[in-house]
Symmetry: C2
């Protein structure tokens, strides 16, 4: 790993060359590097936490002056209970995952002595853009090395930073926090004694380097932005390199008429209040008209009681006004159309009624809920609460989102919870990788044919026939 202020092209070329050497290292060499990083960080704990404490001091001043948000401040703190230990454990967890490189996923006998094989390989060079969390460096270094990809990291990155790199007094200068420097130096020293090339992982420091890196689509294969939706959207609009991630996380929960009330209460509280600023928090509640009086009142009361603002469409507001205590009913708000496409990231929930047409089958309401979600959601995570497996299946087949859940919280959409060890992010893309992305999302494949002189012209008009015999992928 290196901390570098080289030019964008030099950085990208160094990454590209390193990626090719890294890609062909054996499993053990990549795992040994992770062991070395883990050991070095453990030894440097005091130095790194001291650097982080200084960063925090400066950041607190900036927050007091209103130059930094409280949430960025929180994310910077590496001394918070368990955070350091989680970061170190994460390195070992990734090390101990199955090697994703060089796995055969297809084997076909094209003809005698002519065998086709598809085998996994790293994508190449990743550009990871993130905001304040220092532990991202260790996470990404682990995932990149394990998967055989080179990574260019840029931290402390905000939208203003990308849009106006030259407007600050220190424009063109280097900037990175002391914690970033301390972690990078430690990892760099650790890698020196391993087979992993040092330039496989580079932390770039120049403030104005991102725009130039986003132009280098010949050297950089994938951009992974981790930050605000404005940051992600800006990056998507300003590069030809594929971008993996999500701008919005507009998740919804649909309560079907036969949902279990206790389950609905528990799930809504978790999904809305577990961590309201998370991308997998629920933002829209869809309620079957037939559940307006049976389920919604208790759910609404519980949420109101915990300080959640409810923005209701007219039907749900009317239903609630009739049955919940007057003091609660007065704080209900009217929803606008915009509320159903807004990611609040706050204790606010938009409520929409899904009509139950008279004489219609139960699947009709579910169809209408699916249509609402497909028209409004960000294709991240949507859940249904119902006691019918048939209705659940209709919902999970019909909703076009990365995660479609039944009787559980949208907050389950997470790489650690999915058992992926850790994640590089959650993707709302429709190609390559969708949902929580772990090691598998950092892989692509190649086709190998081993022949003994056969040529295309031998077949078809050449007289020979293809065998196309599917073979086992276990060698």
């Amino acid at each position: 790993m290196s901390l570098t202020d080289s030019s964008p092209l030099e950085v990208a070329k160094a990454a590209s060359i390193s990626s090719r050497n890294l890609a062909i290292l054996p499993t053990q060499a990549r795992n040994d590097a992770l062991t070395a990083i883990h050991g070095a960080l453990q030894e440097a704990k005091d130095t790194i936490l001291a650097a982080n404490a200084k960063d925090l001091e400066l950041a607190k001043k900036a927050a007091e002056d209103g130059e930094l948000s409280q949430s960025v401040l929180k994310r910077l703190d590496l001394g918070k209970t368990g955070k350091w230990e989680d970061m170190l454990q994460g390195i070992l967890d990734v090390r101990d995952l199955e090697d994703p490189v060089n796995k055969v996923t297809l084997r076909t006998r094209l003809d005698d002595g002519l065998e086709l094989e598809r085998f996994t390989c790293p994508i190449g060079v990743l550009l990871i853009i993130f905001e304040a969390r220092p532990e991202v460096i260790a996470n990404i270094a682990s995932l990149a090395i394990k998967s055989g990809n080179a990574a260019i990291l840029k931290g402390n990155c905000s939208l203003a930073h990308l849009q106006y790199p030259k407007t600050h007094a220190d424009s063109g200068g280097k900037e990175t926090t002391l914690s970033f420097r301390a972690i990078s130096t430690t990892i760099s020293n650790a890698l020196t004694n391993t087979l992993v090339p040092n330039a496989s992982i580079q932390l770039v420091t120049a403030r104005d380097i991102i725009a130039s890196l986003l132009d280098l689509d010949r050297q950089i294969d994938l951009v992974i932005p981790r930050g605000s939706n404005e940051l992600v959207r800006y990056i998507k609009n300003n590069t030809r390199i594929p971008v993996l991630g999500h701008a919005d996380g507009l998740c919804s929960i649909y309560i079907h008429k036969d949902a279990d009330l206790e389950m609905a209460l528990k799930i809504l509280i978790d999904a809305k209040l577990g961590y309201p600023a998370a991308c997998n928090a629920v933002e829209t509640l869809l309620v079957d008209e037939a559940a307006l009086s049976s389920i919604l009142p208790s759910v609404a009361s519980a949420l109101l009681g915990k300080g959640v603002s409810l923005r209701c469409d007219s039907e749900s507001k009317r239903a609630l006004s009739n049955v919940i205590p007057a003091n609660e009913a007065t704080i209900l708000q009217d929803a606008t159309e915009e509320d159903f496409t807004t990611e609040f990231l706050a204790p606010i929930l938009a409520i929409k009624t899904i009509p139950t047409p008279p004489d219609a089958s139960p699947s009709t309401s579910c169809s209408l809920a699916i249509a609402h979600i497909n028209a409004h959601s960000s294709k991240h995570t949507d859940a249904i609460l119902t006691s019918s497996s048939e209705i659940a299946n209709q919902f999970q087949s019909g909703v076009d989102s990365a995660c479609v859940f039944w009787n559980t919280s949208t907050r389950m959409a997470d790489g650690m919870r999915f058992g992926f060890g850790t994640e590089v992010g959650i993707s709302t893309n429709k190609i390559h990788a969708r949902g929580p992305v772990g090691l598998e999302g950092l892989m692509i494949y190649k086709y190998r044919i081993n022949g003994c002189g056969q040529v295309a012209g031998d077949y078809g008009e050449g007289g020979k026939k293809w065998k196309h015999e599917r073979l086992s992928v276990d060698r």
Copy 2:
């Protein structure tokens, strides 16, 4: 299928809605639609071929006037021996492939009664842009319906057409050949009696519609351009929608010193002359210095004898001048640096010598060949000729291309030859799908969790522990 001159947004919205209905149709309904299309085309054979004959007449005139190239003329001809039969057989071949929809590819028990499943689903809406081949309509309709994707097709599309939609006298008017119309109408009528929504497959006719469609990244999920490298490059530069395909096919073959001479002769002739205009034809020959006098002369003579121009670097030219007949030696050309990054698509081959440093191991030359390829190739297909499996493995691991072949022709890179039935194209992308792309490249996946009221907050600090038990994907 419909032939439409609706507005771009209407077309995209119709595709989007149809895609959701198509995605949830059972296997049988999609297969039945392919049977119906096959039958209808068979019945309409005379009408369609008559329309094609009229198209050809007009095209021949245009070719005589120099307004149309001979290669476009050839591609338009549906009456060529075997072409019609291949088109019809292709529909049945695709129908009989395994259903790629709704396959479970991962199952994990997160906890008791809390199961995670990853299952395949269609990507959504495809935009396919192609040039002259009428059979593409039937191919793409089959692949799209089988994979559950809606498709918007635009034929007769050239670069000039995209860049200057308004410069022709008929600007803004509709344009499509009579064959395209005849095939579309036939497929459309066939679909009427099936469960596949008619607007799943739309052929758009307005000349200036492409630029607007390329803007609709909320409705269209993937663009697949099939045409010249300029066309593909233009499209990549003018849309935020992911593009699947390849601009260049700069393929190379490396002859290692221990290659078999007879094999080298046969493979080079197939790779260069089988179909010089194909993207999988060889453009660069890399020759181990140690093979300059043993293998290169016979290969060069054979290629020269078949009218191939050889553009040699100084070492290979010197080696050849010494040993091949004088009349052949005089027609050798000098290679420029540019020749090693040029896709000739013609009987021209650039030849470069890979040094064999004294006392170096055989793997050194192979490393240098790999470095040349990774710096110059378009990541499409590269091959090595060697009798050493170790050297072959070094090459296949080190070369960063979609297809890495040993002792066979680059022309093997093809969906039909790979046993995929047919292909939507060959991709040089580093994410999603690489190499020949069949049905699998048109799929993505969703994550389903079936729970019974568990929430994220139950775990970790909530006291419960994840089980993360890998389950069999066979239900």
